[in-house]
């Protein structure tokens, strides 16, 4: 799990029918790092992710994995290097955790091959890494939202890809579970060097957990780089049309965006001086 792979988009244009979503986009995903993609609703974040995992063919341009166009690679070969966790995967009714995680082994199996020792080891390791081993024999239906998301990530881990794309892995989770999932992904990145690209809604969590932050706006990259360079008041205004104040997150040293809105338009001097206000 040490191989790093380069993933890049080159002059990428994506469209649904005649509606262009992404136009002439160039993106370099830093290998072995965590990249977070942020942007307003319908700015093309998920579309970009879908195309990078070749669910969507580009209108023009290419997505390159190690210099090879992903849309030309054999499906299973790609799936052994690049994994995708979509926003709302379906858990078949009554499936057990171990069985679901085992399905992540699909790209490593042939039509008539049997379940192998490597498959078992990969599933066991994936369950272990996500601390879902005690749940192995439970039905996925019975799990809480946070547990279920961990199981889905375990499935993606069992696929043993060096690159992992996740479309809003924290949606529908409460704040504790969001942190739990993002911590887990960070562990993966730090211990195995897995390259992670994820679409996130929450700007502050994105800035805190990402090494590389990409802000999309109107189908183009507005800014990309270190979170501290990308998440600025100007950027939030340009991408979301929102006035905000960006301060340094005392816990992480990363930028922290505080939205303003019509009822809270300026920083209050009295609060800024003292400790935190209400």
């Amino acid at each position: 799990m040490t191989a790093t792979h380069s993933l890049a988009a080159e002059d990428l244009t994506l469209a649904y029918g005649d509606r262009t979503v992404i136009e002439g986009l160039d993106l370099l995903v830093p290998p072995g790092r965590i990249t977070a993609v942020v942007g307003a609703n319908a700015c093309g974040k998920s579309t970009l992710l879908r195309s990078m995992s070749r669910l969507l063919s580009p209108r023009s341009g290419r997505v390159l994995l190690d210099g090879k166009a992903v849309h030309r690679l054999p499906a299973k070969e790609l799936a052994r290097t690049l994994g995708l966790l979509p926003q709302s995967p379906i858990a078949p009714e009554g499936i057990t955790v171990a069985d679901l995680v085992g399905r992540g082994r699909h790209p490593h199996q042939r039509v008539f091959s049997r379940w192998s020792k490597e498959d078992d080891a990969a599933v066991a390791a994936a369950l272990d890494a996500t601390e879902t081993t005690p749940l192995a024999d439970r039905a996925v239906d019975e799990l809480s939202g946070g547990q279920r998301q961990r199981v889905w990530i375990a499935m993606a881990l069992a696929q043993q890809t060096d690159v992992l794309l996740l479309d809003e892995p924290t949606t529908f989770l409460d704040v504790a579970h969001q942190i739990e999932v993002l911590d887990l992904l960070t562990d993966l990145n730090r211990t195995r060097g897995t390259t992670i690209v994820m679409v996130l809604h929450d700007l502050n969590l994105a800035a805190r957990y990402a090494d590389h932050l990409v802000a999309l706006s109107g189908g183009r990259i507005h800014a990309a780089g270190e979170p501290a360079d990308v998440l600025t008041e100007e950027c939030v205004r340009a991408v979301f049309g929102l006035d905000s104040q960006v301060i340094v997150d005392p816990t992480s040293g990363k930028p922290l965006m505080l939205p303003m809105g019509r009822h809270h338009t300026a920083p209050r001097a009295d609060v800024l001086q003292g400790t935190s206000g209400s």
Binding site: A79, P86, R103, D120, T133, P134
Partner: protein
Amino acid sequence: MTSVRPAPALDAAPVRRPGPVRFLWLLVVLGLLVALMGASVAIGSRDVGWSEILAALGGSAETMGEAAVTKRIPRTVLAVVVGAALGLSGAVMQGVTRNPLADPGVLGINMGASLAVVAGIAWFGLFSATSIVWAAITGAAVAAVFVYAVGSLGRGGATPLKLALAGAATSAALTSFITAIALPRGDIVENVVSWEIGGVGGATFTGIGTVAPFLVVGFAVSLVSARSLNSLALGDELAAGLGERVALARGVAALGSVLLCGAATAVAGPIGFVGLVVPHLCRLLVGVDHRWLLPFSAIVGACLLTGADVLGRIVARPTELDVGILTALIGAPFFIAIVRRQKVREL
């Protein structure tokens, strides 16, 4: 097995659902099938003694009893084969459409096959058994594509209920077409009506031989699709992410399913609900892994149809009730039960 497992060592312990339970069920359903086949040969409108049954199985057809038993042998084989085909076809169809209500009967695919056969006989003078099978499979395929297209119209794509409604509407329309074609034709109407109810009573080994190649291909294609169906079950996006070519996988599996139900319909008429009931039963026994579910659906489908055929001979003595009627009697309440569950979720 619910306790906390130790952290996996290098030589990891298997963490998947234990196989022995499934093997046990496999033995149970196989045993049941053998018993039902025995009953199917032994039980009928004519009471036959054991000696005569054994003699008939040995190839003798000298007494009336032995002759009756001899006629029951191909009938038993046909019930097994058609039941297996319909059970497997339903399981594959439910997997392909991720729809718990999918079934060759509910989706109107059997009726597509029937209409093609009836039209072929009435208008094109189809007589050879092979051409009838081809007509049935073509009709089944056209109906399948049509119902799926209609069911996918509008928001949300092919939801379970929309597909079932499209199938029911198509089925009703096709049934009236069949009646319209057959009624004015005094020469074929009687055959069409009895065939349309669905039965295995008139089975011959020649007829079985004609559909056998189609069924063999259908069984093979369907069973090979098991692993693809496992990934399709996780949603199209995740399946693609796992390296599945979604459209191709779905097309291949659907082809296997259509071959099976088309061929079964050609030889036994449109028998409904076997493909609906059987996969649900099998999921209770062996879970949702298609590599187990598909073979089980075939075996349990064979059990259901053979059992229904035997039952039909017992309840209506001295005459017989066609299996198509019995499977509908069993299947309709089952269908309602599935729909009435709190939500008809996608598989």
